[in-house]
């Protein structure tokens, strides 16, 4: 390919899958109106789900799924050794996703339930960054193809990659939706990173926070709403643990705030009684 007499070298793109549902990979062939243009941006050298061609030379790797077996650790490290930019694609790759829920049970128990006494190799679920250095994370279960396109185009053209800092609530309000709390549901929209177009609350289903915490989330107000609406600590915990996307400081902040708020709430209830 030449432009103004200059050879344009397309970056070599590889797509790999680990433990997961391959839904994020499927997203890569969606958004059909721009699909051909999107694919023309690079040379696709590995994409097992869609292509039989294979190569060990690539510049960018999009990686889907989490790590749950030793052979996956080795495969991931080999990819890391070959690639310039390693991108974690989707909630499983970024934080373990729903597969992470398996870690709440002793491994022998989960194996016994499905395979009986047969020995099956399986490990605690880990995200990519727990195993290798990750250069960029694109969250979501599944990822939004529009966002993937925007980010990958920025990667290829060297433009600055910008992610929203605000929560899903902003996008939800833009769509003029009725607040899910008014329907009696817990919604993590107030504290979850936007970029999905508020797809779940727009379908009248509470956000489960698959994209993880927003930069400027107001946890205090969120907890005020949740406690005022009568939801319990256990309910909010179940919600934020679903995709494991709040693991770390965000989860600790939520836990301590909810404890504090429940105490205050009880104290006031006591006065009223």
């Amino acid at each position: 390919m030449k432009y103004l007499g200059i050879d344009i070298v397309k970056p070599r793109l590889a797509v790999f899958d680990f433990t997961g549902c391959e839904g994020c990979e499927l997203q890569l062939v969606n958004k059909e109106e721009t699909l051909v243009d999107f694919l023309s941006l690079f040379e696709v050298v590995n994409f097992r789900e869609a292509s039989s061609d294979k190569s060990d030379a690539y510049d960018i790797a999009l990686i889907e799924g989490c790590i749950s077996r030793q052979d996956e650790v080795e495969r991931l490290k080999a990819i890391r050794g070959r690639v310039k930019i390693l991108v974690a694609l989707g909630s499983c790759a970024c934080c373990g996703g729903v597969n992470h829920l398996k870690n709440g049970f002793p491994i022998e128990d989960v194996v016994r339930q499905v395979y009986g006494d047969r020995k099956i190799e399986t490990e605690k679920v880990r995200s990519l960054k727990e195993v290798v250095q990750v250069d960029l994370e694109i969250p979501g279960c599944p990822v939004s193809k529009a966002e993937v396109e925007r980010i990958v185009i920025a990667l290829v053209t060297g433009a600055e990659i910008r992610m929203p800092k605000y929560p899903v609530c902003v996008e939800c309000r833009q769509q003029l939706n009725t607040c899910l709390f008014d329907f009696g549901e817990i919604c993590l929209g107030p504290i979850t990173l936007a970029g999905c177009g508020a797809v779940c609350p727009s379908g009248k289903v509470g956000c489960r926070g698959c994209r993880g915490p927003a930069d400027d989330a107001n946890y205090e107000s969120f907890i005020d709403v949740v406690v005022d609406k009568g939801f319990t600590e256990a309910e909010i915990r179940k919600k934020i643990e679903f995709f494991n996307a709040f693991e770390g400081p965000a989860k600790d902040t939520i836990a301590s705030l909810i404890q504090k708020r429940i105490k205050t709430f009880n104290a006031f209830s006591g006065v009223r009684a």
């Binding site: 869609a50 047969r118 727009s202 379908g203």
Partner: protein, 424 residues
């Protein structure tokens, strides 16, 4: 006759998930023909234990990125049957429409993005962008139409949003449905062109008589719930799915195998069509006839053709459903229900065959036991035994390693396996 052969396909491409083919022939004798599933297990059944019942559809949709609507519908059916939840008629129609969107998305993806490259002798759809731009444009438009059906009805194609216990949480308005109808009618020309292309393709010549298992249609071609039937004459009610599937383990696969009256059976488009041919929509039956597909057909490669026939059926039935909704009211979408203890089984025909979800639920609405049996699990043994017969046939013909390797990969691909789905 070919004397020695060694084929080792590590991670078959253009399928969902990780599976290997191993073939060994020595002195003209088949030593080994193996379908090995090496996908990592995720243990969804264990994760479901202790989970609130209304989380099950959301969680289990994550078993598969391609048939997540089907998993949601099987999960909903299991929960709703356990608790005697009656789903309003409009919600049932919308669910079936979402299901057709998924079938069209999955079948067109398989036929035009994953299978077509084999017939055009390329590694993927990407070189076809330059060599066959018209075909790629049509493929993209057809898949795009299917995705927009799913997005409109279920909120999203992969991991649907608005399919919830009791019905649907949100419905499109009539103007949106009318627009969808218009788009679908416009795409009929593309579908007709794809049909013309498939008329020209010569499918590999191979047959192995097998048993076909599917839902049994009553008045219409079956998709959601009903009796289970096999072409060998077994009929069971939905709740006796275990007697139909009979899972067992083999030491070379993390996905289980199944059998019924013989060593193996097949599920999927060809099984559905062989068992329910007379219930096809008129237009789809015409398409089947022009493509030379009549029951009983024992060529596994014809599953591709059965998928194309089903695309025409799903398109025609979707247009009927939209007309019914445009003519009637659309307000009754979701039923309130009392949480109660119970056992529920949901059987749904997803693109690759019959899918079972089974939950035991306690009086607080928490799941105490879960079992999910996936179509590809049921096809594993059939793929495995087909490979052996295919290799024997090709060895006799004297085909070389490259030819046999391609035929074996195409055979696996014809089943459209969803491997990570089968190791859930």
């Amino acid at each position: 006759m070919k004397v020695n052969m060694n084929i080792d396909v590590h991670h078959v491409t253009r399928v969902e998930g990780h599976g290997n083919i191993r073939i060994e022939v020595q002195d003209g004798r088949l030593v080994e023909a193996k379908w090995e599933v090496v996908e990592t297990p995720r243990f969804f059944e264990a994760i479901l234990k202790g989970m609130p019942h209304d989380n099950a559809p959301t969680l289990t949709s994550r078993i598969c990125g391609i048939c997540s609507i089907g998993h949601t519908l099987a999960s909903l059916r299991a929960v709703e049957r356990a608790m005697d939840v009656e789903v309003p008629a409009t919600a049932q129609k919308l669910r079936l429409l979402a299901k057709h969107g998924e079938t069209l998305q999955s079948h067109f993806l398989h036929l035009l993005f994953l299978v077509a490259p084999d017939f055009l002798n390329v590694g993927s759809v990407i070189p076809l962008v330059d060599s066959h731009p018209d075909l790629v444009a049509k493929a993209a438009r057809l898949k795009g139409m299917a995705n927009s059906m799913c997005d409109l009805i279920a909120g999203r194609t992969t991991h649907p949003v608005s399919l919830v216990v009791g019905g649907v949480s949100k419905a499109p308005d009539k103007r949106q449905l009318a627009e969808l109808k218009k788009t679908m009618e416009d795409r009929m020309r593309d579908a007709a062109d794809v049909l013309e292309l498939f008329k020209t393709l010569a499918l590999p010549d191979f047959e192995r008589e097998t048993e076909f298992v599917s839902l049994k249609g009553d008045k219409t071609y079956p998709w959601i719930g009903g009796d289970l039937v096999s072409s060998d004459g077994v009929i069971k009610p939905e709740d006796q799915y275990l007697a139909m599937s009979n899972e067992y383990q083999v030491n070379f696969s993390t996905s289980k195998f199944t059998k019924l009256s013989r060593d193996s059976f097949a599920v999927g488009a060809l099984a559905r069509l062989n068992n329910n041919y007379d219930l096809l929509h008129g237009k789809a039956k015409e398409v089947a006839e022009t493509l030379g597909l009549e029951p009983m057909n024992y060529n596994p490669y014809m599953n591709n053709i059965a998928q194309l026939v089903e695309c025409f059926h799903a398109l025609a039935e979707s247009l009927d459903l939209i007309d019914e909704m445009l003519d009637g009211g659309m307000n009754d979408l979701r039923r309130r229900y009392e949480v109660q203890a119970g056992v529920g089984i949901g059987a749904v025909e997803v693109p690759r065959g019959i899918l079972y979800h089974h939950y035991n639920i306690d009086e607080k609405g928490m799941i105490t036991h879960a079992n999910c049996i996936i179509p590809t699990t049921q096809n594993n043994a059939n793929i495995h035994y087909d490979l052996a017969e295919l290799v024997k046939q090709e060895v006799k013909k004297g085909s070389d390693d490259q030819e046999v390797r391609k035929l074996c990969e195409m055979l696996v691909r014809a089943y459209d396996p969803c491997i990570s789905c089968s190791v859930h």
